[in-house]
């Protein structure tokens, strides 16, 4: 049974449609990431689930309850805000106890639960501090504790890591994931950071301009995007335009200005259709010693950039067509050098050209 269900959810602000006909569900215990560029409607969606915005159309269900018209205080959602929204006049312990007081939990019981959750998030002993006396990471964990202590039916996270520095953000990703698993709580996670979504989520919902573009497991989103827009948004990729020549099941042959390429692609591409081939830089090899059956394109090295663990080489394979190739480059290529780039059939993924 879906723990969070959104059906045909739509929100208009005057002339602007922020969210349009969004339908998705999260199963019990699942973590679903709402991913998209800023202004795509992901935060508006989260605020509708929390009850802060009223949908223009559509239904929201939590478990078997239709909560579409319900006030936020009756939804039992644990919400973590981007800027944490800790009550500045209350101590850490009072912040965490707030939701329990609103539920009229007896004082002794409340104190025990607050202490337990503060220990759990590693803030034991900091209960008497004020929020402003905490570091960013500690404030973040206080916000998580405050949301979790009420045993919410769902957890809603709005860009929870956006205000932390890069190193802490990396740590907190895994921390939030393990905490979410441990509590087994169904979670909606809003982020614009695709790496965060891929690491954390069981399924990722990619939103663009208020429309759900794809809702799939991270591997599917990454390796088998449904559209050029999703392919371009998730990770780094090369997009090579072309025309479908033939197809057999998922396998297809595409003619590009750089040559004929064998790959795979979305089911609705028929021969003759204009397509866009997405080839990830890390799947392309430089030099000719690739395995048999691999695609080979000839090109000229334009630029080579050392990135530490990997090297990024830009290879021009056609008029105005530059492929980025990333890997542990053994032979240092120089600008102007003629090279062959190769990639296996399953590294080229075709999507409709304009969608």
């Amino acid at each position: 049974m879906a723990e969070i269900g959104l059906r045909g959810l739509t929100k208009r602000f005057g002339e602007v449609t922020a969210v349009s006909g969004l339908t998705l569900e999260a199963a019990s215990g699942e973590l679903v990431a709402l991913l998209g560029p800023s202004g795509c409607g992901k935060t508006t969606t989260l605020r509708m689930v929390a009850g802060f915005e009223t949908p223009t159309a559509g239904r929201i269900t939590l478990g078997d309850r239709d909560v579409t018209g319900e006030a936020p205080e009756h939804r039992n959602c644990g919400m973590v805000f981007q800027h944490y929204a800790l009550f500045p006049h209350l101590t850490v312990a009072q912040n965490v106890a707030f939701g329990l007081q609103m539920r009229r939990v007896p004082r002794a019981d409340s104190e025990r639960r607050v202490a337990a959750i503060l220990d759990k998030v590693g803030l034991g002993g900091l209960g008497r501090r004020l929020p402003r006396e905490l570091s960013g990471g500690q404030q973040q964990r206080t916000a998580l504790a405050r949301a979790l202590v009420i045993n919410p039916s769902v957890l809603l996270l709005d860009e929870p890591l956006a205000n932390l520095d890069a190193k802490l953000r990396e740590e907190m990703r895994f921390y939030i994931r393990s905490l979410q698993r441990e509590f087994g709580i169904t979670t909606l996670y809003v982020t614009h950071d695709q790496a965060e979504a891929l690491v954390l989520a069981d399924r990722v919902a990619v939103l663009m301009d208020g429309v759900l573009r794809q809702f799939d497991a991270p591997e599917e989103i990454y390796h088998r995007p449904r559209s050029a827009a999703v392919a371009a948004f998730i990770g780094l990729t090369n997009l090579l335009p072309g025309t479908v020549v033939s197809r057999a099941g998922e396998a297809m042959v595409v003619d590009t200005p750089a040559g004929r390429v064998r790959g795979r692609g979305v089911p609705d591409l028929a021969p003759g259709a204009r397509a866009m081939l997405s080839i990830r830089p890390e799947h392309i090899d430089l030099g000719g010693e690739a395995a048999d059956g691999a695609n080979r394109l000839r090109g000229v090295v334009v630029e080579r950039t050392f990135l530490g663990a990997i090297t990024d080489v830009r290879v021009q394979v056609g008029d105005g067509l530059v492929l980025r190739v990333q890997g542990r480059a053994t032979a240092p290529q120089r600008g102007g050098e003629r090279v062959t780039v190769s990639f296996p059939d399953d590294a080229a993924w075709a999507v409709p050209a304009d969608a």
Binding site: A50, G51, F52, A71, P72, E73, R75, N76, C77, G78, M79, F81, H83, A85, L86, F87, P88, H89, F98, G99, M102, R103, R146, I150, L156
Partner: protein, 280 residues
Amino acid sequence: MAGAARHLLLAPAAVLLLGFFVLPYLNMLVISVMTPSPTAAYLHVFTLRNYAAIVGDAFTWGVIWHTIQIGVLTTAIALAVSYPLAYHLARAPRRRKGLLMALVISPLLVGVLIRTYGWMILLQDTGLINQARAALGLRPLALMYNDLGVLIGLVHVFIPFMVLAITGPIQGIDPELELAARSLGAGFWRTFWRVTFPLSMPGVVAGTILVFVLTISSYVIPSLLGGFKVLTVPILVIRTITELFNWPGGSAFAILFFVITIAVLWAYLRALGRAAHPGS
């Protein structure tokens, strides 16, 4: 050097306060212990009899008590009217905020005398309101020359001060804090009392103290709308000095009331501090 320059910034305000506030008060303190005289402003003879006379007089304590009552009532009513207004202002879109703010301040654009005469036209026994009531066959109401008239006039003029004092602090409250409280299970009113109101306290404290102090020291409104039937400390002090020519007596009364005012404010702040940190 930078430190010295920074202290220099205090000079204009310090000179002003010293010359027009501290020194006159000290002068009044001196006069209050001199001996009254029918032939001069006062005689240079030290006495504590002025204070003894006031402290021993039940009438003056009645006036002090009444003044404080009017002060507390005016402040409470102004706060009750101003808070929702200030909240609306603080959360209004910027363009509408400017217009609303101009409207809130508009009572201050008219001088106190003209504004008070305006109220008299409305409130007096044969004023607009009572004429309208008579036309409808209703009994006339005593709206003036009593506490009610004084309260109406005072609340009207002090609402802008209260609104201005409270709007800023409310504007500083992140609206997400209210949403956080809601999502944690607090309804509208509990969110207000547990989050919004406590966080707006700096504005409430500033506004209430400002309005209270202005009210208990106001003279024109209580005299015109109270018609000298409502006695407050400022009215009595000025009468003592200008009608009874008793400078020392009036000064002693003013000094005593100054001390009482400080004591009231101190008790108020202490009570608020207790309410904010129970148990400490």
